[in-house]
Symmetry: none
């Protein structure tokens, strides 16, 4: 597909271009702090920038009349409502986490949770020393998938991109589900999957979870 | 419930009695190399002995008219047929592996397998130095759940009861599902679950998988 | 030897009796929540109970005038001083962990610690749900080997005998040292080794490391 | 310094250029499958290519009369002898792994190996799907540190940079030493350190361990 990219010069923006290139999709439009480039009209728009850019992104979606995949973080409830509203006219995928493996981890948690009555459950998450919040948002999502509160141990360790473990412990056995993010590529691949999902939809407001589930 | 136990003096037999006792079930009948003890008529029969004992077990099921949970390993196809035949009259649960966690691992594998196109998959299994077969039967079950052949690395290490890992590796992330058996108790708990399942059934030939799925 | 056992009805107490029996040592005295039994005067005392029992144990050592092997965890610095003081009169072996592998782990920590300036260090320990103290005595020994305080995450999980990990994290790499106890027997064998070491000594305050190195 | 790079277009070749650039060293010569580029005469040569390229590298060292840092893996004993021979005339640093953590891992292995008589030992190594040689050069170094041959399981998995584990298994416990490389940058930094070490030497055949200890 021919796609446009808002936030093209950011770390995620660059990673997205590498992954989309490998999948033979062409970046024909970029919008950035450095300005605008246009080779052709995009068939889909990706936005990995900042919440402050959202008005411009909405304007672009209406101008090109194309689906949107958005991965900026920190939207206000009002901005999220604007995106949901946009979903009535165009296909919109919005998520704060585009990792395929984390979605699979959450699905496994939901599969297991009803079958381990009386077992203990513990979560650990390890991230680089620069991460400030504890526990990670992903650990919170894991507890939501589990449907109950369990202990979370947070480790801050060197340059670790991100690792999450959930342990289900019976008296005679332990089941462990683990996810390790190796690089930002993880997330770029989730964005690609979302783009290939969104381009087939007429309209609708979707989470990355919907993409994972409905793409099967 | 009041239950009978064929193979009561074996390692698994002893473990089963500990676990069933804790669940307030009474062992009222035993059959063993040392002979027979009978306090009362059992409502269910458990057999963790040897294939050579099967004729006696079949005789006992017919005599007491009760369900059977059987965990002996190494049956011939003919013996498995006899057990299936018995299932037409009584509830019969038969499995070579009564670990709850391994069943959950298999369910997770089935959940994940269709969503990781293009990822690499590797299995490792670690067992004590006395285990002779490679790869483990459980690793073979994991490949069956996956629906395709993948590499299995077998480690033989000291006194490890049993550990199985499956790695799903994308270019930017790794999802790992692991199971560790801590002791024979694992299996005794699966037998308990199967007994509590079987006692509610009129008839039928069930795997431990059926017990796990239908007990939910 | 004829030995006495404080904490005889605990999980470790039972395991110690099995291992000492196999080595032809006779348990002639027990002290426990259930009371006191005395067949004969012990030649050595083993204490695997709780810190609160220490005054009674000290009293018994003085009464019987015998060496002591103590494995209770969670002593206060004052209690440790009392044990060291006792070592001036009797042979005392004190350790929070009687496994060979933990001693090797501690040696590795001492090898690594001076070569990872600027790296982050984290410890995790996982034990069965019945373990009361946090962090484990072994985790405390690991921090002592390290020579500085680092975060310890304590997980309580099903029937896990005992697992300890130490993570050294640089910006580009992680080094992890892990120990897993497969059964309590491992510790009981270390206690036996320590008892057979202590009974030959007139006095002195010894660690399990001393037992290991001087027994070779 | 002005340096030459054999294997410049490989993944490690590119990473080395980034790290050397940041340290203000200039790449003035490259040799590659795509051919040869020469801006100036290099003062030092780095070779991160394949064993098959070694004859060309030796030729270049003799032509430019400069030190060599070589990180290709999978050399034959004969090729290693040729490099040792070269060390009589020029400074040569040769290692299958240029990370600090791997050196620490090797030191721990040497510490432990004499104290685990009768235990089983297993090594696993996991690398990205593009790695061609099995087992990894690092796994071979681990066996050398151990002083004996043990089984090595090689996993090839998605985008994993590099992970090595060594398991020491007794009947009652397991000790595991693990290293995870988070990015190739770690290795490139070790190569830089080695280059800055080698350029000060007249001659000699050095390991990365020599670089680490003598640089302190």
């Amino acid at each position: 597909m021919k796609y446009g990219l808002v936030g093209a010069s950011g770390k995620m923006g660059k990673e997205i271009q590498v992954v989309f290139d490998e999948a033979k999709h062409s970046c024909v439009y970029t919008y950035d702090v450095e300005g605008e480039t246009k080779i052709d009209a995009p068939e889909l728009l990706v936005d990995f920038s900042l919440p402050v850019v959202l008005p411009k992104t909405l304007e672009l979606v209406h101008a090109f009349k194309v689906p949107l995949v958005v991965g900026s973080t920190g939207f206000t409830p009002e901005q999220l409502s604007q995106l949901q509203e946009l979903g009535k006219e165009y296909a919109v995928v919005q998520s704060y986490n585009y990792s395929v493996g984390i979605q699979l981890l959450l699905q496994c948690i939901e599969k297991v949770k009803g079958q381990v009555d009386g077992w203990d459950i513990e979560i650990t998450e390890t991230h680089h020393r620069f991460k400030k919040d504890k526990p990670s948002g992903t650990a919170i999502m894991m507890k939501q998938a589990l449907g109950k509160d369990v202990p979370v141990s947070s480790l801050r360790l060197g340059g670790v991109t991100g690792e999450h473990n959930i342990f289900f412990g019976g008296l005679g056995e332990t089941l462990t589900l683990s996810h390790t993010a190796l690089s930002r590529r993880t997330f770029a691949e989730g964005v690609l999957k979302s783009a290939e999902f969104a381009i087939k939809k007429q309209s609708g407001f979707y989470s990355f979870r919907d993409v994972m589930t409905q793409s099967v």
